[in-house]
C-alpha cells in the first residue's frame, strides 16, 4: 500500500491554501498508509547564497534556540528560526554541504530532513490526521507540495524511514511500492560516495536519483534510468524547486491518478484524495501511462 499525493498551484488562491489542501488529500489516504505521514512543501525562498534547512530532533525538549545561535555564530544567520512540532526551519548564510558537515560532527543526533532554497520536509510516524494537526499544515502556504502516507513493508516504522526522502538540494522523492534490488544498489551507491541513514528501499531510490544528477544527468534522464536500474514496483513522485514529476514502473502495479484544472495540477494514488480539491468534479483526470515521465514546472524558471 502507501498513499501518495501531490499538488501544484496554478493560482494564488491555491498557493494561499496549499497546506490545507495537502492535509485534506493526505487524510483521504490514511487507510493506504496509517504508519507514518510526511510532506515536502516548496515555499519562502531563502535569500540568494543562503540555505534553508529543516532539522529534526528525536528529543522533544530539544533547545532549538541554542543550536541555531551556535549555527548562526559559525555560518551567519539569514532568516528566523521556525519550530514546527519536532522539526525546525533554519536559514543560514552558507552552502548546505558545509552546514551538514558541521552538524554531522557537532550534533550527529540531529537529522537534516531537507536542504535547499525552497524545500521544507516534515515527516513523522503516526496517522496523517494526527500529522496534519501536529504540524499545522493548514497554515502552510507555498507553490507546490507533495505528501505520503506509509504502510511499511521493507523496513522499520521510524521518522527516518518515513517519506519524503531528500534526494539532493530542493529535491525529494515519495514512493508507493517496494524495490527488490535495493541492497545491492545501496552497496554500489556507497562505493560512489552516497551516504545512507536507514535500511529503507526508497532512500536508495532517492540516493540513486541524487547520484545520477550529481553525475550530470537531467531529472528526466535520471528518472528514465530508474526503468533500467531499479527492480520492483514503484509509483514515484519527485519534487523539485520548480515543480514535480511522476513515474510508474513498466508493469504499473501501483496506482496513480493525475488531474488538472485552471487552478491546480494534482497527483494521487486514488481519486478520493483529489476529490477534496475545489473544482475537482470538473477537472480533467487521467491515469499516467507506465514507464513514462510526466512533469510540471512553474513558468517562472
Amino acid at each position: 500500500m502507501c498513499g501518495i499525493v501531490g499538488l501544484f498551484a496554478k493560482s494564488t488562491d491555491v498557493e494561499e491554501q496549499l497546506g490545507e489542501h495537502l492535509g485534506a488529500m493526505l487524510v483521504q489516504l490514511g487507510d493506504r498508509g496509517p504508519d507514518s505521514a510526511g510532506v515536502a512543501v516548496y515555499r519562502d525562498p531563502a535569500p540568494p547564497g543562503a540555505t534553508k534547512l529543516v532539522l529534526f530532533s528525536a528529543d522533544p525538549r530539544e533547545h532549538w534556540e541554542a543550536l541555531v545561535d551556535e549555527l548562526a555564530r559559525v555560518f551567519g544567520d539569514a532568516g528566523e528560526l521556525f519550530v514546527r512540532a519536532s522539526h525546525a526551519v533554519v536559514t543560514l548564510d552558507a552552502e548546505a554541504g558545509e552546514i551538514e558537515a558541521w552538524l554531522a560532527r557537532v550534533r550527529p543526533d540531529v537529522c537534516v530532513m531537507s536542504a535547499g532554497r525552497v524545500i521544507e520536509i516534515y515527516k513523522e510516524t503516526g496517522r496523517p490526521e494526527q500529522f496534519a494537526a501536529r504540524f499545522e499544515l493548514g497554515d502552510i502556504r507555498g507553490t507546490h507540495a507533495l505528501g505520503h502516507t506509509r504502510m511499511a513493508t521493507e523496513s522499520r516504522v521510524t521518522t527516518d524511514g518515513s517519506h519524503p526522502f531528500a534526494a539532493g538540494l530542493d529535491l525529494c522523492l515519495v514512493h508507493n511500492g517496494s524495490l527488490s534490488n535495493h541492497n545491492r544498489l545501496r552497496q554500489a551507491l556507497r562505493r560512489e560516495g552516497m551516504a545512507f541513514r536507514t535500511e529503507n528501499d526508497t532512500e536508495v531510490a532517492a540516493a540513486y536519483l541524487a547520484w545520477r544528477l550529481r553525475e550530470g544527468a537531467s531529472l528526466r534522464a535520471a528518472l528514465e534510468g530508474c526503468l533500467d536500474d531499479l527492480d520492483g514496483f514503484y509509483t514515484f513522485l519527485v519534487g523539485t524547486a520548480d515543480g514535480f514529476a511522476v513515474l510508474r514502473d513498466p508493469i504499473a502495479c501501483k496506482p496513480a491518478v493525475l488531474a488538472e484544472t485552471d487552478d491546480w495540477v494534482a497527483m494521487a494514488s486514488e481519486w478520493r484524495a483529489i476529490a477534496v480539491l475545489p473544482g475537482a468534479a470538473d477537472a480533467r483526470a487521467w491515469e499516467p501511462q507506465p514507464g513514462v515521465v510526466y512533469s510540471w514546472e512553474s513558468a517562472k524558471v
Partner: protein, 238 residues
C-alpha cells in the same frame, strides 16, 4: 434531480455526502428480497470504493461522478452507469447485468467476470479483462498492457489501440481490436475475421450503444492453442 422521475417508477436519489456508503449498499442489497425503487441516482461518490457491489436484482443505478475501486463488483442483473471515471477493478467478477463507464476505467476492469456486459466509453488501463470467464467488454477508447491476460472465455472489443502483451496466455476468449496493437502476449495470434465475427462485433457494439464504428475495421485475436499447459482435448471445457 427529481426531474428524472419521468416514468411510473420514481428515482431514489442518494447523496453520499450525507448517506454512508454501507447504508446505500445495504439498501441496494435489500432490493433482492423486498420491494423498493428500481431507479437510483447516487450523488457525490468522490472516489469511494466498493460502490454498488454485490447487487442481485434488476435495478438501474446511475452514479454522478468518479468512483474508486471495485465499483459494481460481483454484479448480477443490475445496470450500473458511472458518469465519470472508475478506479481499479470496475465490474470485477460480474456475473450478469450491465456496467457502463462514461469516462476512463483504471486497471483490471471486469477482471474474472463470468457474464454480463461492461462498456467503457473512455480508455481502460492495464489488465482489462484479466482472467475473464465469459463477460463481454466493449471499450470505446484504448486498453493498456496485458489486457485479456489468461482470458478464458467471453469477448473483448477495443475500438482504439491495445497495449503490449495483449492476450498473453489466452484460453478461448475472443479479442477484436480496431486500432494498433503494441504487441501480442504468449500464444496469442491474429486470426481471420470472417462474416460471423463481423456480425458478432456489430451485435456487441450495438448493445454498447456505439453506432459510429465500422465492425469490419476490426482485427481478431485469439489463442494459438500451443501453450505448454493448454491441451486441445480440453477445449470444450472452457
Amino acid at each position: 434531480m427529481s426531474a428524472q422521475a419521468v416514468e411510473a417508477t420514481t428515482t431514489e436519489v442518494v447523496d453520499l455526502g450525507v448517506t454512508p456508503l454501507r447504508e446505500l449498499n445495504q439498501r441496494l442489497h435489500d432490493l433482492a428480497t423486498a420491494p423498493g425503487p428500481r431507479r437510483w441516482r447516487v450523488l457525490n461518490p468522490n472516489g469511494v470504493h466498493a460502490l454498488a457491489c454485490g447487487l442481485d436484482v434488476e435495478v438501474e443505478v446511475d452514479v454522478d461522478g468518479h468512483v474508486g475501486y471495485y465499483c459494481a463488483g460481483m454484479n448480477k442483473r443490475a445496470t450500473v452507469r458511472v458518469h465519470g471515471n472508475a478506479g481499479t477493478g470496475v465490474a470485477e467478477n460480474m456475473m450478469s447485468g450491465r456496467v457502463v463507464v462514461d469516462g476512463n476505467a483504471s486497471q483490471s476492469a471486469a477482471a474474472t467476470a463470468h457474464g454480463g456486459l461492461l462498456v467503457v466509453h473512455g480508455d481502460a488501463a492495464a489488465r482489462c479483462g484479466i482472467s475473464m470467464k465469459g463477460v463481454d467488454i466493449v471499450v470505446r477508447g484504448s486498453v493498456g498492457h496485458l489486457s485479456a491476460f489468461m482470458a478464458q472465455t467471453g469477448c473483448l472489443v477495443v475500438c482504439g489501440d491495445a497495449g503490449d502483451a495483449l492476450g498473453d496466455s489466452i484460453y478461448e476468449a475472443r479479442i477484436y481490436v480496431a486500432g494498433e496493437v503494441a504487441g501480442l502476449g504468449a500464444d496469442c495470434v491474429e486470426k481471420e475475421l470472417r462474416d460471423d465475427h463481423v456480425a458478432h462485433v456489430r451485435r456487441l457494439l450495438s448493445e454498447a450503444g456505439i453506432d459510429d464504428v465500422d465492425p469490419a475495421r476490426f482485427r481478431r485475436f485469439g489463442s494459438a492453442r500451443t501453450l505448454y499447459n493448454f491441451h486441445v482435448d480440453h477445449a470444450a471445457a472452457y
